[in-house]
Amino acid sequence: MNFFFMGTLLFSIGGFASIFLKEKYKALVFFFFAAAAQYFLLPGVFNVLLSGIRLEARLQFTGPIGISYIRIDPLAAIFILIISIGALLAAVYSISYMKMYSGKRANLSSYYFFLGLMISSMLLVVTAQNAILFLIVWELMSISSFFLVSFENNKEDVRKAGIYYLIAMQIGAAFLITAFSWITALSGSLDFSSFKHVLSSSNTISIILILLFFIGFGTKAGFIPMHTWLPKAHPAAPTGVSALMSGVMIKTGIYGILRILLLSDTPDLKLSYFVFIISLVTGVYGVSNAIAQHDLKKLLAYHSIENIGIIGMGIGTGMIGLAYNQPLIALFGFIGAILHVFNHFLFKTLLFFGAGIVYQKTGTRNIERLGGLIKTLPITSSLFLLGSIAICGLPLFNGFISEFAIYIGIAKCFVIDNLAINIAAVTGISGIALIGIMAVLCFTKVFGICFLGSPRTEYKEKFSEKSFSFVFPMILLSVLIIVIGLLPGLVLPLLSSVMKQFIKVDFTNELKSILYLYRSISLSLLLFVCIVLLFLLLKYILLKNKSIVKFKTWDCGYQAESSRIQYTGSSFAQPFLLLIAELVHQKINVVKDPVLFPKEASLESHSQDFSERYLIQPSIKVLDKFLNYFSWIQSGQMQQYIIYGLLFLFFLLIWIWGTR
């Protein structure tokens, strides 16, 4: 276990140490500590995953925490792996990325300090086995990430986003605190393992408890309708942090849900359907809102919501499989979910890194103002394309592998002789297909409009993408994406010990059949690659010695070349947004002169989040009105505060007198 504490500490120490250094060394030192932490964490983690053993350490605290266990089981190990690699990549990326803030008002010391703190607390979140310790590190994670989100706090929208994020996290934490205090009252102990008998007795209380946990953890993960902080916080944070938050931190919510699932016995059937359906809705909702976005990072944030939905569908499928005692379905569901957690980390981090480079190059995140970047940023563009294809779940890359498992898990439900599950299956399978094709729509828009075509504005900045700290993380992520995509058989054995935690019956044969299935997929995909290469070769041979003329794009005889007449992202998405107008509300402002020869006209469109509009804003209004009744407490008058002080002292005296 020492390796774990060592690794966890190193991140914090790195962050702390960088406070005292000169600006240009901060990044390097933090990177050095992050790299050293890998040396401690990774071997231990792989050891746990491969052998399935549990490592634990007993900590004795004074005060309310008492005895606490820090335990690394295979489930925790998977998340430690993601956090650790994600942290390293964010550290590498920050070396170049944070240069743009050096010498400015922003404080790089706070950046590295809170980054280290956030990473360490995330590592503890996935290992802590004591309710109070868990809540402490959970809050530490939220608060340190709050400081990272509001890093550029001289901008008003960043400040607003930061506060919004903090409040959302506290609301989520409120549910968790309620759930944890209730469950400890019932079980009589703070230790997670003692929760087992409370949660496994299938009565109403345990279901309510699980729901409370689901809401609390779901807020972090971004399930609707608690997702509204994601599209605000992710764009506000510096890109390294956005990547870490979207790729890694929101997964701690998923971790929490899985941990609670492990502590409860066979899941309740209604609960399983609930998780399945809410995830499906989350997925569809996330991607359909993503389509309407103009801000590159906001769009990626909505895609995180979509992917959390897909992961949730995997979990739901797994739960349904467990509830119906179908190990194969459960296996497919959980493998899909956990693999997708990892996969989403890979491609989302890659995409955020790409978006950050685009932002540095162009100074804007507005999709409508970009274009033609593939000529000026060839490496970033190609890797962004790879990430885009992966996030759509299309084959050759890792997204397909995990989505395939979820697909099959759902499709296996057709075979069960039960109408309810059949209907759930057909809804689920067409729903996940809908999510997939909508993601295709969204990422063809992003890639096509931002990176292809010709530039819509002039990019002034002299900026090179070819620095080690930009290219290395993206290349590493791409390699992992391709390896998992083509050779899934290499990673699946790592998951078998995690699966043993979820599925109590013996599933060796089922696992074998899954491995066999993935081998046929690998072989087919390799065949596909061969066919593609063959046709590229054929084309090359056919075009040898032929004339290849470079000419301008066919413009149907219309002779006015201007990059502004290109199709825009909004017009690309418009036909689809018309179809789902009820779901994604768009505010469109048209300014035009109603005269015979109009001069200037403009059109603006903004999408509004459904849940923001119909749930969050109205409840804020109600709360505002209600809390206004107490506004007299904070009058701003000095006399009143002095009275408060005197009253406090007075009651203190009474209290002391009473206790004596």
């Binding site: 394309l385 057709f414 075979v415 292809l452 593609v532 000419f551 301008k552 418009q574 179809l579």
Partner: protein
Amino acid sequence: MLIKIILYGVLALSPLLFTGIINKVKAIWAGRRGAPVLQPYFDFFKLLRKGEVISKTTSFVFQITPSINISAVLFAFLIVPIPCIGSLINFNGDFVLFAYILGLSRFMTVIAALDTGSSFEGMGASREVTFASIVEPSFFIIIGTLSLLTNQLSFNAIFTMLNTSVGYTMLVKLLLLTSLFIMLLTEGSRVPVDDPNTHLELTMIHEVMILDYSGPDLAFILYSSALKMLLISLIIGNLFVPVYLSLLLGLLYLSLILFIVFYAVGIVESIIARSRISHIPQFIFLITALSIIAFAVVAFFLRGGI
């Protein structure tokens, strides 16, 4: 195995023949004599011999897309079984790979269209993905219906079991036939969804996305869209050809069905006008509606209630 490979080879070489049949049918219905049935092949080989004109705006995406397209469709083709002999690639859930590999080709086609920076091609690309967003989920409802009916999870097994099933299957098959036929018209970009012969870029979908292609690339694209139509009609063929027939008889049966399907496409194209773009989603939603009805029918008879 060898026979299977040869059969796949022959079928893979035949798609342009069916394009020829459609054109011939249209010509006859219009009272013309029409081009020879093999004309698409002549065009194909002519294109292969030509050089290319490439837009200056484009990148490598534009250049690799046609090759990826044709490979994707060809690969998807290997997953769909030939009646009475089965498919070359099959495993549980092969239909997901089938749909997703075609999805990859769609992704590439769309971004290749945006690569040219032409607003016409942007329009086509936008429409393509919009309509696909209706088609793709419906395809999985169709598959769901079939696997509910047969308890199987691969194309091969589904179609083997399908023919031995009970009475109400005919109703299901007819519903699925209709929705697959609409899907064929949509994916093959035929009337009333799209018109391959139109000359107005503003109204086109698939054809407008490939405006900038020429030479071998264009040949690849034309071939793959013809093959894609054959693919869907092959699924229709699988629905109806009984598996217990001998190979020769089965193939004859299949050819007859393919001929009827493409004849029908020709007739539809001759007697129906192209829809307005804004009305197309309603037409495509028919696929969803019909496949949901088919699912409900199976659920009703198999599980005893909806």
